[in-house]
């Protein structure tokens, strides 16, 4: 548990970066600091490992005031990941990851074995171990940055916009992997971002800061979206917060319809017969997983992968209302595709049916 008690940071030039911040980051949870540029997120984060000393107030980790601890030892027990990776360009990937274990005096073999293990856990090819950072893509470098921060198994991790320098697709992937890892490791994490979507996706709780480094609201993502404390928070959350809030709605049972399908590789005639006059027909693969939509009337010969309209998203049965609604809205047929745990087609649902479910038992309300 990390506790900020009335923490203030005034830089020598008079800038008040953090102004009387009090908050608690619970053990084993992800606390996200979010807010506009210059609101003191990085400053707050760096005061935890004393890269920056507070002007007043105190920060405690598990009840121990960090000001009373040796700064170097404190830092070795706290993982730190930054946006640009901060990898050592002159050290191999393996040596980069093994940095803190070696500082802590582990023997070389154990440090390297741990590093190699982490490399694989982060989904990286062990063959990368001998490379230098500039031989890796941005996404790979960020993974190495996370692996390095985890190497000595610190209970606390500080992450400063770790995923914001990579392209959106890689970011999504990194976020998913990060959540999976955290589910296993249960670190106490303080995560900085200026991206509210990232905050909502990753945070167990979110602290919204305003410029001047004061706390505007501290809440779980669903409470934050459902009930912003004031105009500043509401503005910061953005206009489509009602829609995003659906991501947290408990998943009610949706009325699934059976959807006619055709196997990829079937003839056009078979497809037209299955469609029974409908404009769009769902195509599945041999395993029963939906792969896309086709217009049977436009088919010639057999149904091939190149005939597929792949615009529709796929939602999981029991997943969020947001995913189900998005599946319905994005399908060319307007029939949202739902799949079961193993990815096989479960049925389809229409947008109005999802909306009815929301009205019945969805989120929101004042």
């Amino acid at each position: 548990m990390i506790t900020f008690t009335d923490v203030t940071k005034v830089y020598p030039d008079g800038t008040i970066a953090v102004g009387g911040l009090s908050l608690t980051a619970p053990t084993g949870r992800i606390t996200v600091l979010v807010g506009p540029s210059g609101c003191g997120k990085t400053t707050s984060l760096r005061m935890i490992n004393r890269m920056i000393e507070p002007t007043s107030g105190s920060i405690a980790i598990d009840g121990r005031d960090t000001a009373t601890l040796n700064a170097t030892e404190l830092r070795r027990g706290i993982g730190y990941v930054i946006q640009s990776g901060g990898l050592f360009p002159h050290r191999t990937i393996l040596d980069n990851i093994a940095t803190v274990p070696l500082l802590l005096g582990w023997d070389k073999r154990r440090a390297r074995a741990t590093a190699l293990d982490l490399l694989e856990r982060m989904g990286l090819d062990p063959a990368l171990a001998r490379r230098y950072p500039n031989q890796l893509s941005g996404g790979q470098q960020q993974r190495v940055g996370v692996a390095r921060a985890l190497a000595a198994d610190p209970p606390v991790m500080l992450m400063d916009e770790p995923f914001s320098a990579v392209d959106p697709q890689v970011r999504d992937q990194l976020q998913d992997e990060f959540l999976r890892l955290q589910a296993e490791l249960g670190k106490t994490i303080v995560f900085v971002t200026h991206d509210i979507d990232e905050a909502v996706k990753l945070g167990d709780q979110i602290a919204v800061l305003r410029v001047g480094g004061t706390l505007a609201q501290l809440a779980s993502p669903d409470r934050l979206l459902a009930d912003p404390a004031d105009d500043f928070v509401a503005d910061f959350l953005g206009r489509d917060r009602g829609y995003r809030g659906l991501a947290f709605a408990p998943a009610p049972a949706l009325p699934l319809r059976r959807e006619p399908t055709v196997l990829l590789g079937s003839t056009a005639d078979a497809a037209r017969a299955a469609a029974a006059g409908e404009t769009w027909l769902l195509v599945v693969d041999a395993a029963g997983a939906p792969v896309g939509w086709v217009e049977p009337d436009r088919l010639a010969g057999v149904v091939t992968a190149s005939d597929l309209h792949r615009g529709g998203t796929v939602a999981r049965v029991g997943g969020s209302l947001r995913a189900a609604l998005d599946a319905a809205l994005s399908a060319p047929s307007r029939r949202g595709v739902l799949v079961d745990e193993s990815g096989r087609l479960a049925g389809t649902v229409r947008a109005h049916e999802v909306l009815e479910a929301i009205e019945r038992e969805g989120p929101g309300g004042p």
């Binding site: 890269m51 030892e73 070795r76 901060g86 360009p89 940095t99 803190v100 500039n134 031989q135 500080l158």
Partner: protein, 214 residues
């Protein structure tokens, strides 16, 4: 050519002396320039005076420095230590700025990450900053090495024997052969230093060439 063949042992011994007189100041100069460069980098206010004062050293004429040295450090006039100390000053003059700039070129996020991992200031300097500054420092060393090889010859005028003695000798006797041999040997020596430093720098910085080789 026959002159050279008759004097190979003598030329060789002058070459070796020349090499030592040029190389020793290079090492000593580096040892002095690294801490000075660190100071200039660590305390930005010190950068202008340190770089300016050390840079000025290079503008002192070498002959004057060789002659003044015995007065300053109390050595005999023919003592080769005069040459070593004087050239060390020139090396420092050329290297302080390079070292400071090389250290300044180390990316800030790398330093921040090092600090955040609990790497103390001295260790950070030796294990992170200095290795990363090697390519820049090596380029400064190459300039200083060539400069030293050429300046050492001037010491012939104050009677410290090395390849420069071939010039004074040839000049005194109006005889071209030793002068040509002296020039060729100096050029070869400078080239050898240059290659050695380049090779050393490459050996110390495998990551630089790894760039792009994905």
């Amino acid at each position: 050519m026959t002159w050279f063949l008759d004097h190979v042992p003598q030329v060789w011994s002058l070459l070796v002396t020349h090499a030592v007189l040029a190389a020793l100041p290079l090492l000593l100069g580096l040892l002095v320039a690294v801490p000075l460069g660190w100071l200039a980098r660590r305390y930005p206010r010190l950068y202008p005076p340190v770089v300016a004062v050390t840079g000025l050293l290079y503008t002192i004429p070498s002959l004057a420095l060789f002659i003044l040295m015995p007065l300053v450090i109390g050595t005999g006039i023919l003592d080769p230590r005069n040459v070593v100390v004087a050239l060390t000053l020139y090396t420092v003059a050329l290297l302080v700025r390079t070292v400071a700039d090389g250290l300044a070129a180390v990316p800030d996020h790398v330093l921040q990450a090092a600090t955040a991992m609990g790497i103390g200031p001295l260790r950070r300097f030796l294990a992170v900053e200095l290795p990363l500054a090697v390519p820049v420092i090596a380029s400064g060393l190459r300039v200083a090495a060539v400069s030293n090889v050429s300046i050492v010859s001037v010491a012939a005028l104050i009677g410290v024997p090395q390849l420069g003695s071939l010039f004074t000798d040839g000049f005194a006797r109006a005889f071209l052969d030793p002068i040509v041999v002296g020039i060729v040997a100096s050029v070869l020596l400078a080239a050898a230093f240059d290659l050695a430093i380049l090779a050393g720098s490459r050996a110390l910085t495998p990551w630089v060439r790894a760039r792009g080789a994905r």
